[in-house]
């Protein structure tokens, strides 16, 4: 029943060409016009400070920048993200036991194309520069004739420490794209909160501190991340599975960090008191 060789090969080539074209179209649809991961000098400044990178929100394709509503969404996003990052920086400054500094780094012209932009090398570089989170956004809409409908913002998050330290771990990509409007909400919801920013940044900071064996800071922020991740996001939430995985991971990681601290003869901090006697760090 097999087809003659040359005919089968021709068909395979045609299918391959069609598939390549489809992939090309798909990429064109999801990758913003002119997307690129340009260098951003601010990342390497202040080497001792934790950082969150906020890239320029970009339009998914040429021509969308003329749409007034998408321009408004872009401005809202900038306002909301700036506000979240300021609030997070303030919170960290006053959580002085121990204090952690968080810097918001703005990277104009930088826009990740997808998960592949955060390969091992880049994740390692960003982690070494104390980048705990990179945030970007793609603005899109469905063209129908001369009208644009179903406008949306896809907000991307990469957690370099998670991608680097847990590379390949199932269920923990460290790369997330959330669509706004959220189910059952409208786009004005962007203004009142992007709770995942605080949750992801706190987790990234906790992981970085854990790697540096700064056990006290790590446990404080991993436990906080667990609480923030558990609270973030209204229902129904299409990203609930990712979040549950992160909640479990934050819990597991804080537990491992406590164990590591207790086993470290060089550590003489509060965890040795908190878990002296019968108290156990993990259920």
């Amino acid at each position: 029943m097999a087809e003659p060789g040359p005919s089968r090969k021709r068909r395979q080539r045609a299918v391959a060409r069609a598939a390549a074209a489809a992939i090309g179209w798909a990429i064109a649809l999801v990758v913003p016009a002119g997307a690129q991961l340009v260098d951003c000098p601010g990342i390497r400044n202040n080497p001792s400070t934790f950082k969150v990178i906020f890239d320029d929100p970009a339009y998914a394709r040429q021509g969308l920048d003329a749409d007034g509503e998408l321009q408004t969404i872009k401005a809202r996003l900038q306002f909301a993200v700036d506000g979240q990052l300021q609030a997070l920086g303030m919170e960290m400054r006053q959580a002085a036991q121990p204090a952690a500094q968080l810097l918001s780094v703005s990277c104009p012209g930088r826009h990740p194309r997808g998960e592949s932009d955060f390969d091992l090398d880049r994740s390692q570089d960003l982690t070494a520069s104390k980048v705990v989170l990179e945030v970007w956004a793609t603005l899109d809409g469905r063209s129908q004739g001369n009208n644009l409908q179903d406008r949306e913002a896809r907000i991307g998050y990469a957690l370099p420490p998670l991608r680097f330290y847990e590379r390949g771990a199932p269920g923990l990509p460290g790369f997330y794209q959330l669509r706004y409007p959220r189910p059952g909400a409208d786009l004005s919801g962007i203004l009142t909160g992007l709770p995942e920013i605080s949750a992801y940044a706190t987790l990234g900071l906790g992981l970085k501190a854990a790697k540096a064996q700064d056990y006290d800071l790590a446990v404080q922020y991993l436990k906080k991340a667990e609480a923030l991740l558990a609270a973030a996001g209204p229902n129904p939430d299409p990203d609930a599975a990712n979040r549950r995985a992160l909640v479990d991971y934050a819990k597991r990681k804080s537990c491992e960090t406590v164990r590591a601290a207790l086993a470290d003869p060089g550590y003489a901090g509060g965890l040795k008191i908190a878990y002296a006697g019968a108290r156990r760090p993990c259920p």
Binding site: E91, P98, T192, V219, E226, A274
Partner: protein, 439 residues
């Protein structure tokens, strides 16, 4: 030039004896590059200009630009009931657009030079600032607030008959409120009301000759409130002269800005709370806790969202109520409020510490023991370097070791806590967890 102006302002504030004691209000408009506070005021409310967010990309319209000034006048008109108050509006200067809150705070707390006059130790300050984002006819405001009593840690303590002290601090002293939407029409209406209120009259009569309050002056404009008469304030100052009157009969509930910005209810509550703290042993007004309660109630009613970042001001409101109850000796009323705050901030060891200390204070007959130890160890598991909790554990172990039949492992526990505390203190300046604690 700036130094000379600063010296002149300090002399002005000192010589005028503004707010030297007891009740009294004073207002001032000054430039951001030379901030000043009223040294004699129990509380200074300092309002910084609301900044246009970078998303706006164009200059703000008049009403939005003047919002900080509106809030200052609102403070002056509504917060005076609590006691001695200085309300300061810092406006941007032409050669410098930003007015960084941290820099201004450091100057006003005498941590860096540049202030015309600074807050005195033991006196309180509230700094308020924000961002504005304008989208067509809608204006979104995000307000930030920071408060402190200079040289004091805000919190509570439980003193035992033997002199031992258990302490807990307020975990949050900076708040980012959720963004709030106002229409340009709302702001215009507020501005109209403001323009009516911000006039100086020759007599306490709305029909008397009047002129606008000189609010945008480059040089500082300070004035004291000398007398209150039938809803009018008699004010005097170098620039505005003597024997002038401000129409102040404004019901706080009717002040339009307050209806649009529930944050101002929070500000009101916080002002009352701080006045109560500063008054301390000087018998603060018994009405203050009731007013604070009312204002926090209004804030909560107007704030539908209570999750995520919005949980922080809600939790802080509960802590302020709890602290007031503790100061009034009503620990049993404070404990459930702290428990609610701890549920809103499940990661905060300080919130749990407040609850534990209040529980101890609510049962004065019982000795602290295993239950408190377990609770503090649990909180330490959240923040292993929390010095207040380590100090409380040290005090607890010290107490237990003095009793009959003390467990054999107690000396070891006590020594371990001492070592950890010493290790943490050696790594950081002794600003936190050191004894200069409340109230």
């Amino acid at each position: 030039m700036i130094r000379r102006r600063g010296a002149a302002l300090a002399v002005l504030l000192g010589a005028a004896g503004f707010l030297a004691a007891g009740r009294g209000e004073a207002g001032m408009m000054a430039a951001c590059d030379q901030p000043a506070a009223f040294p004699g005021a129990a509380l200074n409310v300092v309002v910084l200009p609301y900044k246009a967010d970078r998303a706006v990309g164009r200059p703000l319209g008049g009403p939005a630009r003047e919002l900080g000034l509106l809030i200052q006048l609102n403070s002056l008109l509504t917060l005076g009931r609590y006691g001695s108050l200085g309300a300061v509006y810092l406006h941007s200067v032409s050669d410098r657009d930003d007015c960084p809150e941290e820099e201004v705070a450091d100057q006003l707390l005498d941590k860096r030079p540049g202030a015309g006059a600074v807050v005195q130790p033991g006196r309180a300050i509230i700094l308020l600032w924000g961002r504005i984002y304008q989208e067509g006819p809608d204006i979104y405001l995000q307000t930030y607030l920071r408060f402190l009593q200079r040289g004091r840690i805000d919190g509570i303590e439980r003193r035992l008959p033997g002199g031992e002290i258990f302490r807990a601090r307020t975990p949050v002293q900076q708040v980012a409120f959720p963004p709030r939407r106002l229409s340009e029409q709302d702001l215009l209406q507020i501005q109209e009301e403001f323009q009516k209120a911000a006039r100086i009259y020759d007599k306490p009569d709305a029909a008397a000759p009047s002129e606008p309050l000189p609010v945008a002056s480059r040089a500082p404009v300070a004035f004291s409130v000398d007398r209150v008469q039938d809803g009018w304030l008699q004010v005097s100052g170098e620039v505005i002269g003597t024997g002038k009157w401000l129409k102040a009969k404004v019901d706080p509930r009717e002040w339009p800005l307050r209806q649009k910005m529930p944050e101002l209810d929070f500000l009101d509550a916080l002002a009352g709370y701080l006045q109560y703290r500063v008054a301390g042993q000087g018998r603060p007004s018994e009405a203050i806790p009731r007013w604070v309660e009312e204002s926090l109630g209004h804030y909560e009613e107007a704030t539908a969202e209570q999750a995520g970042a919005a949980a922080i001001p809600i939790a802080l409101g509960k802590i302020l109520r709890g602290n007031l109850r503790m100061l009034a000796g009503q620990a049993e009323g404070a404990e459930p409020l702290y428990a609610q705050a701890a549920a809103l901030l499940p990661y905060s060891a300080d919130a749990r510490n407040l609850e534990i200390v209040a529980r101890l204070a609510g049962a004065p007959a019982s000795r602290p023991g295993e239950a408190q130890e377990g609770a503090w160890l649990g909180a330490l598991g959240l923040e292993p370097a929390n010095l207040d909790i380590l100090e409380n554990l040290q005090t607890l172990y010290g107490l237990e070791s003095r009793g009959d039949g003390a467990p054999k492992d107690l000396p070891g526990k006590l020594e371990a806590v001492r070592k950890v505390r010493a290790g943490i203190l050696a790594k950081r300046p002794p600003e936190f967890g050191t004894p200069a604690s409340p109230p």
